[in-house]
């Protein structure tokens, strides 16, 4: 009970950190209740993963006083900015879910939290790398003055050959949770991972609720929560679930930004992208792929996207400087053209293993299902861009994974056998989160207009419509062609379902 209470205190501190971000970006007004709470905690965790390593490099431990001070600064800045913002009319926000739907979609997370608390699992990589580093950062005390601990926390435990070049965003965040709970073990780490997965669910609700019926959305979130492969990884202590959560959240928010052009959404997307970069090295490659696709799909006005991408890159500078200064190199994987040429004969094995895992029961076949739904949508012109965006993103993710396995310095068969369960979490989470949207487009299962009715005619207008003063009722087809988001385009023939753009976001 004490551990749970202390963990709750840590969550409150992360919420303080994230609430400031929500206020700064304007996302605070976009959500309420549990969605706002989860989004706040998740944004706080992302900010902590980005910022805490900077302090660790400076010799300050990621402990409670530091996070409290950061939360105070973040909240103060958020409140100041929010007060200066123009007052918008208060709208009655309709209830998104019924009680039955809330029970259905929250059940997997509650059961998972009980599992994480009661059965402490932990995979090999967790106790030999991620949680080990967090534990060492925790034991380092109030200042990392002990050189031996610094070396260990950044590199490995003595002469054990663990990857030394990994970023330390996640261990720093986990060390903070250990400080709060006073428990240097996997239990608080597992609970934190459950909170992160619930944070992705909150973002999915925020982004998809105006495109998908409540039951389909609740079913989609339960689909994510009950997926055995993701559940096993959540309580494994590995970094793959946090990486997937941060990256998928960034992708969803960036997708929404392309429709609304709201800078707050771009800022939040950049924050989650930076957290993905601070979590794992693959995160940097995934983020480059995501930003590249957004720049291609986004049409004009690329400058804000470029600026956000640059900001994400800047957050990784301390880590890269540390890696360069200490001449750290990858132990298992190191990209090189020579290695690709040498290992190209491994491709059939890699592709076969990838396919077998993707269609395997623990992943619910989420990626193949979403790909089939997207391919069927290619014949539907209004939804074609959404389908193409999803297919391109999935293809890039899988291509990156193939390149990783081709570039391995250890045996590909061994690495595939021991790591595919976790590396496929990111494409599977993306597929599972977007599956309700793709199905809604395919089967016309958008909401029946209840949300749109509650917010009035103005909410049914898109940003581009209002900017160009085009009457919505007379121009749905033209609007579908103009708006960069495929989501808005897909719903153009059904204007009553187009309720995702709120006045406060402009």
């Amino acid at each position: 009970v004490t551990l749970l209470l202390r963990f709750a205190a840590g969550v409150v501190l992360l919420y303080g950190l994230g609430a400031g971000i929500l206020l700064l970006t304007g996302a605070w007004r976009e959500c309420a209740g549990l969605v706002r709470a989860l989004l706040g905690v998740f944004a706080g965790a992302a900010l902590a993963a980005v910022v805490l390593p900077w302090f660790v490099y400076l010799g300050v431990a990621p402990a409670v006083p530091l996070v409290t001070a950061l939360a105070a600064v973040s909240l103060a800045a958020g409140v100041v900015v929010e007060r200066r913002r123009a007052v918008v009319e208060r709208r009655s926000r309709p209830r998104t879910f019924s009680v039955g739907q809330i029970v259905w979609l929250s059940a997997p997370f509650v059961v998972l939290a009980v599992r994480g608390f009661a059965a402490i699992g932990g995979a090999y990589d967790a106790f030999s790398n991620w949680v080990l580093k967090a534990k060492l950062l925790y034991f380092a005390g109030n200042g990392l003055l002990d050189d031996r601990i610094i070396e260990l926390a950044f590199a490995t435990n003595g002469s054990l050959p663990v990857e030394r070049a990994y970023p330390i965003g996640l261990p720093s965040l986990e060390a903070f949770v250990m400080h709060v709970t006073g428990a240097p073990g996997l239990r608080p780490v597992d609970l934190l991972a459950v909170v992160m997965l619930a944070g992705v669910a909150a973002i999915a609700v925020l982004v998809l609720r105006s495109h998908v019926t409540p039951w389909l959305l609740a079913g989609g979130i339960a689909f994510v929560g009950w997926m055995p492969a993701i559940r096993d990884q959540v309580v494994s202590g590995n970094a793959d679930v946090p990486l997937a959560c941060f990256w998928v959240s960034s992708a969803l928010l960036l997708w929404r930004h392309l429709a609304t052009r709201h800078p707050g959404e771009l800022a939040l997307a950049a924050l989650f992208a930076a957290a993905a970069v601070a979590t794992k090295r693959e995160g940097a490659v995934y983020v480059v792929a995501l930003w590249g696709l957004a720049l291609i799909a986004g049409g004009g006005r690329r400058r804000p996207l470029l600026a956000a991408g640059l900001a994400v890159g800047v957050t990784a500078v301390p880590w890269r400087v540390f890696v360069a200064a200490n001449d750290l190199r990858g132990h298992d994987i190191e990209p090189s053209a020579w290695r690709i040429a040498q290992h190209v004969e491994r491709l059939p094995l890699i592709l076969r293993e990838l396919w077998q895992h993707l269609v395997d029961a623990p992943f619910f076949g989420a990626v193949p299902l979403a790909v089939v739904a997207a391919v069927l949508l290619l014949r539907n012109p209004p939804a074609r861009r959404a389908a193409l965006a999803y297919l391109a993103m999935t293809a890039l993710l899988l291509l990156i994974l193939v390149l990783v396995y081709v570039n391995t310095r250890v045996g590909a068969a061994y690495l595939l056998r021991t790591s595919l369960d976790r590396t496929l979490v990111t494409p599977s989470l993306l597929a599972a989160v977007l599956l309700p949207l793709l199905l809604a487009y395919r089967f016309g299962a958008g909401p029946s207009g209840s949300e749109a009715d509650g917010d009035g005619e103005r909410r049914r207008q898109t940003a581009s419509q209002r900017n160009r003063r085009i009457p919505i009722a007379a121009n749905t087809a033209a609007n579908a062609a103009r708006i960069p988001s495929s989501g808005s385009a897909a719903e153009a023939p059904r204007p009553r379902t187009m309720a995702s753009w709120r006045p406060s976001m402009r």
């Binding site: 009980v114 059965a119 699992g121 995979a123 106790f127 435990n157 079913g219 009950w226 016309g444 299962a445």
Partner: protein
Amino acid sequence: MRALARRRFVLAPLVVVFVPVLWSLPATLRSERMEVRTYRTHPGAAEFRAPFLRYSGEWRVDADLVRFARLVERHVPADAIIVVAGSPNATWVRELAYAVAPRLIVTGGEAGWSIERAQRGAPPPPRIDPEGSRHVGRYRLVRL
């Protein structure tokens, strides 16, 4: 007919997202209940907060290693360096390194303490150890 077709279009996406969940739910809950129950039967491992439990066909806990790690925690100071005679990639070495952190586990060089693991089936160490070492099962801690 048209109403039937419309209903089918509403139900089809729900079937896609609900069926895999409902199909796998009993097995998922059964497996997780077994995991929790297994951990309850090994309070030492749970208390120690180390990931000694792992799945490889059957649930196994190296109870000796758990007890030995607790012994190391009791007798070896937190800033000590311990040399381990074993492969650095061996899972038991990794588990021990995690469990006894921040004590530093190294596989060579200067150290104040040493840990060894006897071969399976080797004769047990003498009851009164002349070197003053401590042991649990196959694991042995020696002050150098």
